[in-house]
């Protein structure tokens, strides 16, 4: 019975039990979560994983049983992804995101944020003065569907009516807020993704967004409603426009990195830039949620100009303070 003395066969017979145990634990995790394991099993995982890895090395060097090597490769790979996978809980991740990652990403992208802001500002100013000079420009900047009767042809009274909610009918606010949030988030993510095409579409989108804003403001300014329109816009606009500018910044970062990767290799630079801007984008979605609530509910409920400006001022202070104020470095354990 020479084959009984095959070393690879004895090798397998001695370790098989541990492999099967690891396989059972992995199957358990696959079905539920890591919480499906008891403390004892959780502690056993790394040990079993290292045993499987060492078995794999030995098997590759000494065994010619192809199915055994394949099995160990697959087993080790699955265990590797668990052992070196993300282990922090959802609460820790969310906490870390708000406490550190989001502000850090916003600070890391300050150049792009300035560029994005400048593009928006240029759009606002250009459209504002063009529309003041010749109201026909309004049609060029704002599509009819969005204008909704607020064009230069409308009377001062009609324009004033769009700024205030006179009906007292407060139903449908949550729908409005939800619509604004989902729509704006979609557009912001789109603006971010477009940045991949070497910044150009994102830059155009930022400038165009500014143009629409400028054209609106000009229309109201012509009728002497600049102050009221400012309050109507700023209560949510500070948050929303900041979010859009940040989304643009994130898009500009990936496009710029694609074109000029700097010291790193292009894939590495892209990966780094992509992760940082993605963190910022997650923050943008949070901001747009706040903006949606402010616009959909806050603006309809608050009808006083000064109260609207007050809320706007608070957001204007809070967002930059949260994102850009330097904070104490976390003590390194």
């Amino acid at each position: 019975m020479a084959q009984l003395h095959l070393k690879s066969y004895r090798f397998r017979a001695e370790r098989e039990e541990d492999w099967r145990r690891l396989e059972t634990l992995l199957a358990k995790i696959g079905k539920g979560s890591a919480r499906a394991l008891s403390d004892e099993e959780l502690l056993a995982m790394p040990v079993l994983y290292r045993q499987a890895l060492s078995s794999l090395s030995v098997a590759r060097a000494t065994s010619l049983d192809q199915s055994l090597v394949d099995y160990l490769e697959s087993l080790s790979t699955r265990a590797y992804f668990f052992v070196y996978g993300a282990r922090s809980s959802l609460a820790e991740r969310v906490g870390g995101f708000f406490a550190r990652e989001w502000p850090a990403a916003a600070q890391g992208l300050w150049r792009e944020t300035l560029a994005s802001f400048a593009l928006t500002l240029v759009g606002v100013l250009a459209a504002y003065f063009l529309t003041l000079h010749d109201p026909d420009w309004f049609g060029a900047f704002v599509p009819d569907g969005l204008a909704d009767g607020r064009g230069p042809a409308a009377s001062a009274e009609a324009l004033r009516a769009t700024l205030y909610d006179k009906g007292g009918d407060r139903s449908g606010l949550s729908i409005f807020a939800a619509f604004l949030f989902t729509h704006n988030s979609g557009v912001a993510i789109f603006a971010f993704a477009l940045g991949f095409a070497f910044c150009l579409p994102t830059a155009m989108l930022m400038a165009y967004n500014g143009c629409m804003l400028g054209a609106f403001l000009a229309t109201f300014a012509m009728r002497g409603l600049a102050f009221e329109a400012g309050g109507w816009l700023a209560i949510h606009g500070v948050t929303e426009i900041s979010a859009v500018i940040l989304a643009g910044a994130a898009g500009l970062r990936i496009g710029w990195t694609l074109a000029f990767p700097g010291d790193l290799s292009r894939p590495e630079a892209m990966a780094q830039a992509g992760r940082q801007s993605a963190t910022l984008m997650a923050g943008v979605v949070v901001m747009l949620f706040c903006a949606g609530v402010l616009e959909g509910v806050g603006r309809q409920v608050i009808q006083n100009d000064f109260a609207r400006y007050g809320v706007a001022l608070v957001t204007l202070v809070l967002w930059p303070a949260y994102l850009y104020l330097p904070r104490r470095a976390k003590a390194v354990p």
Binding site: A61, L64, Y84, S174, T182, A193, F196, G274, R275, S277
Partner: protein
């Protein structure tokens, strides 16, 4: 006659090798897809990249699930709306809108954040997302790779749906080119990265779950006593042939077994006893050959294939 049989046997062996390659067994045809991932312990796990077809299938499965859930959820909200006689309309509409948002933007993200790092479609195809540098797959990477779906997937889809003759032919053409560039992006790079993978520093790899099958040496043990192979018999083949033989034995298709047994007997000059079965012969030869090659392996000599005389 002999030449004909030889050719047949060769064809069978080739077919077996091809089948083994298709099943992921033989390395030759999959080397292009193999990537090394060295663990901190210093062992190369030899990952295999997901193939374009598998990933497309996974995407289609995911899209089908999303559409199914959307239709089901819409019907449910419609029933709830009718049931509430229109009173709960506002709440229901809000919930529907948020659910649609979650489904469209978070479906991929939430599933890839789970320990399996795979959507149901990927899981069904045996795929998962992994960080390209071998480190942890972080949440921001998952967010980045899926935010890019906006231009890779949703823009072309929206373009196809919305394009009903409102735009000119040139704009349509430009749109098609744009979609094509992003859709086919994975086919034009070595690592099958889509734009999202490039931006996030991830790739999609296979995680086949293999069962531990019984060792052939063990399952065929009882009848081995009667076969006594000499060293000359065992020096006819190398590791590559051993693996093909292993695959043939695992499949155990009677016709192939007979062909391969005849081919080996002829090559090593083995006289078959009258009551000797082809299967027993192959199993015994496999065990003996593996023993021989493994003992040489221990001395540091890996005989690649039958042409390797070292």
């Amino acid at each position: 006659m002999i030449a004909g049989r030889k050719r047949k046997a060769k064809a069978a062996a080739a077919a077996a090798a091809a089948a083994a390659a298709a099943a992921g067994g033989a390395p030759a045809s999959e080397d292009r897809q193999a990537r090394s991932l060295v663990t901190p312990e210093g062992v190369d796990l030899k990952l295999r990249l997901g193939e374009a077809g598998e990933r497309a299938t996974a995407l289609l499965i995911d899209l089908a699930i999303m559409v199914g859930v959307l239709v089901g959820f819409s019907l449910l909200t419609l029933l709830a709306f009718l049931g509430s006689k229109g009173k709960g309309g506002e709440v229901i509409a809000t919930i529907w809108m948020l659910a649609f948002f979650v489904l469209r933007n978070l479906y991929f993200i939430l599933f890839e954040l789970t320990p399996g790092a795979a959507t149901p479609g990927k899981r069904a195809m045996g795929l998962r997302v992994a960080a390209r540098n071998g480190g942890r797959l972080t949440a921001d990477a998952i967010f980045a790779r899926n935010a890019m779906r906006e231009i890779e997937l949703y823009l072309p889809m929206g373009f196809l749906i919305a394009n009903n003759g409102q735009v000119g032919a040139w704009i349509s053409l430009a749109g098609l080119v744009w979609c094509g560039v992003f859709l086919l992006f994975p086919l034009f790079n070595r690592d099958r990265l889509r734009v999202g993978d490039l931006v996030a520093g991830t790739w999609v790899v296979k995680t086949p779950t293999r069962k531990l099958v019984p060792d052939l040496v063990q399952s065929s043990r009882p009848s081995h006593g009667r076969f006594a192979f000499t060293q000359a018999h065992l020096d006819a083949y190398g590791v590559k042939e051993l693996h093909v033989l292993e695959d043939v034995l695992r499949r155990y298709e009677t016709k192939t077994i007979a062909l391969v047994a005849a081919r080996i007997r002829q090559k090593i000059g083995w006289k078959a006893a009258p009551d000797e079965s082809d299967g027993d012969f192959l199993a015994a030869y496999y065990a003996a050959l593996r023993g021989r090659l493994e003992s040489r392996l221990l001395l540091g000599k890996r005989r690649k294939d039958k042409h390797d005389k070292g």
